[in-house]
């Protein structure tokens, strides 16, 4: 009987150790959420760009190269806005700080807030698009009928892989949740 009891105790001990593995795996699942964002911004996995401003001082201008940056806009269902880039594309030298304009207009008769979500292709270029000032850093609130010019100041880092000649920056404006 004593033997059986030691056996049962040993079993319980090992089972509890395994529960720790399970708890660890569960923790890992939720840790993956912030981890995923880090991996995305390092590898350009999902074409995400940083949501905080960069400083222009790091820009090294490379006059030998020229890159086409194309702008695309979408307004998601539920947002009564017109939103478009004022220029469909610009050619820039890597490192050269450029300002482009977007325009948003609230066509409804109520005040509405929207949030722009950026996305860049090709993925490997996304980490090299550095934003100094962007309307996507904060949510935008427009009064009824208000038209707002939305500036974007950015530069393309000189470390952009050599084979990338054109890249696309897309903004999707979502209705901001209250």
């Amino acid at each position: 009987m004593a033997l059986e009891q030691t056996q049962a105790a040993a079993n319980k001990k090992l089972a509890l150790k395994l529960v720790w593995i399970i708890a660890g795996a569960l923790l890992f699942a939720f840790a993956l959420v912030p981890l995923y964002d880090v991996i995305c911004s390092v590898t350009g996995l999902n074409g995400k760009t940083k949501s905080t401003p960069e400083s222009a001082s790091q820009a090294v201008v490379d006059l030998q190269r020229e890159v086409t940056v194309q702008f695309v806009s979408s307004v998601m269902p539920g947002l009564g806005w017109n939103f478009y880039p004022k220029q469909s594309s610009v050619k820039v030298h890597p490192g050269q700080v450029t300002t482009v304009m977007f325009e948003a207009k609230n066509t409804t008769n109520v005040e509405v807030a929207g949030q722009a979500i950026p996305s860049v292709t090709p993925g490997k270029a996304s980490a090299h698009l550095k934003k100094i000032e962007c309307f996507c850093f904060v949510r935008q609130t427009l009064k009824p009928g208000e038209v707002r010019a939305l500036p974007l100041r950015f530069f393309v880092s000189a470390e952009l892989p050599k084979d990338v000649q054109e890249m696309t920056l897309s903004y999707s404006f979502f209705p901001a949740s209250q």
């Binding site: 539920g78 008769n109 860049v120 009928g145 000649q165 999707s172």
Partner: protein, 388 residues
């Protein structure tokens, strides 16, 4: 050794002649882009390799099954469990063979294909944006001759055909009202996004397929080498209409493309000049627009499919006031919902013109069992004003 080589060359030649003569119903459809051609080659090569492995292993097994059986009195070798070292040596042989196949024979061509698929070296001559919505594709030309052209591409197969009440046409479920038109021979960059759930724009003959993700942009490219009509489908489960959002691409010569673009731009321009319409005109056009775009969810009768897709018949939105005292449209009014969408309801302002939106709203307010007491008729000019 020489003989083996000849045999090998012969087998490959035989296979190639077979695959060249086949009409491709047993394989990928005829490739029309460099990417699809490359994919077909890689696929054929890999299939051949795996077939050789399979047949060789099967032959050994069959030989063993036929020879080493008890019923034939075959005595098992007195396999006194060979030493581990010998066993490990033998098992390393299949390991090494697969190592060679995986990372050299298959691995090297696969590498080149991947690099080609993600090719960003040369500039494309044209950029288009494709937006997947439940359950239709929206196309927008961002530059070149066709700059500014945008339209919606809906399934054109009739309900009767789907429910076996009419004979099925040749291109059953693979036909649309407005096909995407592309010039032959030009590298076209395709930007892909979605407005609601995941979709996947796929034409088998192009060899490219990319998931469209709401809020994000993805890109791929096609360079169609041969004029023709190419058909494909959405490839990512996107709800009840997943099987009903075909892709049709009409690849034409550069000249024809330029002509088409001019004509289409003219049509779009003309639609911008709105004119006053009678109620009957609006109702007639509205019925067409409704049945093409809205009936999938709200049903031809307006009964909807609650709870996911509300009924229009008797709905507050479809009968309540649209315009406020200031003459502007109100939030959550009928016009707001059609123009801007909400949740599952797509925003139509990007894809329907002023006349179409005015017509469909008028239709919804006066047909489908509805008789709106206020704002019964919406004129194209009112829609135009609402946009700005």
């Amino acid at each position: 050794m020489q003989g083996m080589k000849k045999l090998g060359v012969g087998a490959v030649a035989l296979f190639l002649s077979l695959s060249a003569r086949a009409d491709f119903t047993w394989n990928f459809p005829e490739p029309v882009t460099p990417m699809a051609l490359d994919t077909l080659h890689v696929h054929n090569k890999f299939m051949l390799i795996t077939a050789v492995i399979f047949v060789a292993v099967l032959a050994i097994m069959i030989y063993s099954i036929v020879t080493h059986r008890q019923s034939k009195g075959y005595k098992p070798v007195a396999d006194k469990a060979p030493s581990t070292a010998v066993e490990i040596f033998w098992t390393l042989i299949p390991f090494a063979i697969l190592l060679l196949i995986d990372f050299v024979i298959m691995g090297i061509p696969a590498y080149h294909s991947v690099v080609m698929m993600e090719d960003t070296r040369d500039q494309s001559t044209m950029v288009i944006k494709i937006t997947g919505s439940q359950w239709r594709w929206q196309y927008e030309y961002l530059d070149g001759d066709a700059k500014g052209i945008k339209f919606v591409s809906n399934l054109a197969t009739t309900n009767d055909q789907m429910h076996n009440a009419a004979d099925k046409g040749e291109h059953y479920l693979l036909e649309v009202d407005n096909p995407l038109v592309l010039p032959v021979g030009e590298k076209v960059r395709i930007l892909m996004t979605a407005s609601d759930v995941l979709h996947n724009w796929w034409v088998p003959q192009f060899g490219s397929s990319r998931v469209a993700v709401p809020g994000f942009i993805r890109e791929t490219w096609v360079q169609v080498e041969k004029a023709g009509v190419y058909r494909g489908q959405c490839k990512e489960l996107c709800g009840k209409g997943h099987g009903y959002m075909p892709v049709v691409v009409n690849a034409v010569s550069k000249e024809e493309f330029a002509q088409w673009a001019t004509k289409k731009q003219g049509e779009q321009q003309a639609a911008n000049d709105v004119k006053e319409m009678t109620k009957d005109e609006l109702l007639a056009q509205g019925k067409v627009v409704y049945e093409k775009n809205c009936a999938v969810c709200h049903q031809v009768t307006g009964a909807g499919l609650p709870p996911a897709f509300p009924a229009l018949t008797g709905s507050k939105i479809a009968t309540g006031a649209i315009f406020g005292a200031d003459g502007k449209y109100q939030k959550d009014s009928h016009l707001d919902r059609v123009l801007n969408g909400k949740g599952v309801m797509p925003a139509w302002k990007a894809t329907l013109n002023d006349t179409e939106i005015a017509a469909v709203i008028t239709y919804e307010r006066n047909a489908l069992g509805n008789t709106a007491a206020v704002d019964a008729i919406v004129q194209p000019a009112q829609v135009k004003a609402a946009r700005e």
